[in-house]
Symmetry: C2
Subunit: 404 residues, 2 copies
């Protein structure tokens, strides 16, 4: 494939994403739903006009990295710290409940097998696949609705970040036990701890450096470019050296810079690149990835139960965590639904299970259905829930400015 041929894919994707985004808005759906459907329609499932090539993947990856960087930049540190414990509880229950439900559903379909057998580990692993929330779509929806910077918004984003880490630990433990190679959980915990401690220490230094740059050269290109370089570097370092998702690194980079004077300026610059190219490509790529040609009726029945378990699991787990920490019923439901989105990470986890011989290629189909269902449902449900302020406490839903 010649380099220039990618320009066709870019043209088709951004035009289709915009057209469907506009249609979605016309019929009062969140724009992001339109963009995902655009990907479905131009992708291998329907028209086959564009594929999820490696080139599209890198644009999509930059897209979600920028999205999380922007979420980080808009964070209010005080709120982040205040919501930390709630987010931790929400992440923990949001991992535990779907994992249990997923294991249960698989056993109901394929038989209850004794602990230690291949069937048992398969069921357990399918539970593991359900654990990791992919927060990108929720972030974009909350942004569209103007709710990202609220206390609830911050709680959801940080819960999703923590949930990712817990998910990785669970994944490693399950694979380790299933293959009999030991858990490795200690090492991951240590690495994760090290990452956040280092981010705090180095981050403070970087914050001082950027504040200095900022006061000397406000509103200049260099501040945007160096911020962006920091975002990319931290994304890379998180994944390469600490085994933490790159988007977590991007979010942390944003949080490091959220208190510099120009954080809003940088964010607006990042947002322009984001909405022009990278964002639409990321959302459309979710649809582009969707290929369910291997579907059978039996698999379809299992897939439906799988999807239901994964969605309900997050509502129960995260919603319960929110409810016991003094949120209203509606807020708890918002938290549960906000955490329902699954994406890339579920596929990566599945791939690891396939590589380890725990699950089979056929098990990817329910995962893909889960990704597409949650991606389309969550923005719609969130929009409905945010329609009126009834049942929302004013304090938790007020937009908080960065430099509050």
């Amino acid at each position: 494939m010649e380099i220039y041929e990618n320009l066709r894919d870019l043209a088709v994707i951004i035009a289709a994403a915009e057209v469907f985004g506009l249609i979605a808005r016309k019929i009062r759906l969140p724009q992001v739903v339109g963009q995902i459907i655009a990907g479905l329609i131009i992708g291998p499932c329907v028209l086959g006009w564009a594929g999820n090539t490696d080139y599209i993947k890198i644009f999509a990856e930059v897209g979600v990295v920028l999205l999380m960087f922007s979420a980080g930049l808009g964070t209010n540190l005080k709120t982040l710290i205040k919501t930390g414990p709630v987010a931790l509880l929400m992440a923990t229950l949001g991992v535990a409940v779907p994992m249990l439900l997923g294991t249960l559903v698989t056993m109901i379909f394929y038989g209850f097998e004794a602990v230690g057998t291949a069937g048992f580990y398969k069921a357990l692993f399918i539970g593991v696949i359900m654990t990791a929330t992919s927060v990108g779509i929720t972030v974009q929806t909350l942004k569209e609705l103007g709710k990202l910077k609220t206390e609830i918004g911050t709680t959801i984003v940080s819960a999703a970040i923590i949930d990712d880490v817990i998910g990785i630990i669970v994944l490693t433990v399950v694979i380790g036990v299933a293959k009999g190679t030991g858990t490795g959980a200690g090492e991951i915990l240590l690495k994760t701890l090290l990452f956040f401690v280092l981010s705090g220490v180095v981050g403070f230094g970087l914050y001082k450096l950027f504040s200095f740059l900022d006061s000397k050269y406000p509103h200049m290109r260099r501040i945007t470019i160096f911020s962006l370089a920091l975002c990319f570097a931290l994304s890379y370092i998180a994944e390469k050296y600490f085994g933490i998702a790159d988007i977590t690194g991007a979010y942390v980079a944003g949080v490091i810079l959220c208190n510099i004077k120009d954080s809003g300026y940088v964010d607006s610059r990042v947002n322009i690149s984001s909405y022009m190219f990278f964002g639409p490509i990321f959302f459309a790529s979710i649809g582009l990835k969707t290929d369910i040609s291997g579907m059978t009726w039996e698999l379809f029945a299992f897939s439906l139960s799988f999807v239901a378990a994964a969605l309900v699991g997050k509502i129960i787990g995260c919603g319960f965590a929110a409810k016991v920490t003094k949120h209203t019923w509606k807020e708890s439901l918002i938290c549960g639904i906000g955490m329902m989105t699954r994406g890339e990470v579920a596929l990566i986890v599945s791939q690891k299970g396939l590589d380890a011989g725990i699950i089979t290629a056929e098990d990817f189909t329910p995962v893909i259905l889960l990704i597409i269902t949650s991606s389309v449902l969550v923005p719609i449900l969130l929009k409905v829930l945010f329609k009126s302020n009834k049942g929302l406490s004013a304090g938790k839903m007020a937009a908080i400015s960065n430099n509050d």
Copy 2:
């Protein structure tokens, strides 16, 4: 290579390009020179921190496409038409003179051989390699100096566009004759003609459509996104179906939209993405591509003569064309120097010669030297020449607004 690993390259490239760009400005060199040197330093030649991977290539390609799109958007149609004949003459002589000089220099080094022998074709082909101007760096330099929208700026850009087409025709003829498969010049001419006629006709319809969109939804995301999609689509179509460089398609897309009310708005949006990511990556990638590990003393001597012939050839050819069309000496020199830059296209032409068995892999070294020398020299020389207005006619150097 995992997708996320590209984030490291992106971080390193944009940070290095910005640092060296700032240093360049400090010592009063054009910023773009700093960005190219950044690529040289972090590339395989010196540090080896980043390579010219396929992923970097697509970002770089989008970079030069956006650059040309932006140049098109800033074009004044009247000036473009007015300068057309001058640009055509400049392009023709700018192809002929370097080609003759290149052939001559090669014959001086490797012996004069009879017409029709392999040696003769090799010499002729090395002349062909010198023909195509890569105008990206000149565009960026003129932009930095605020001279892109002047009459001279427009002349140089359109001459470079035409020069590209002539270069392709010459290339096809020479390869056809050398391989005895016929010239194929007629077909290319026809295709080229068809491309510009179609661009005119379809372009007028698109212009009306965008004007309508523009009047209905001014300053909205959709206008930027659809413009961008048009730019990518036309770039792709130009190269895929008409054999014309993608950047020519991008420029034409810009020209089509240059008279809509929001052309300045779209341009400013494109520029933000351009300076944040794509531009620095494009300029740094010129340095990243540079690898001269196969250098010998004999080759070095030839390379120097090759570079000199290629640079002087453009100054004589284009400068003469400018001088006979009533430009001052200084303006003529500016035109000649502005047209000196070579890039990607020279490498693509070389590759075609290698594939056809006319030249050898060793012949790439002088081409790489030419690219890097011209890329660094042209911005510096242009800056020096534009330092004072002495010797420049006011009319030709005044910035012209789009909607003039």
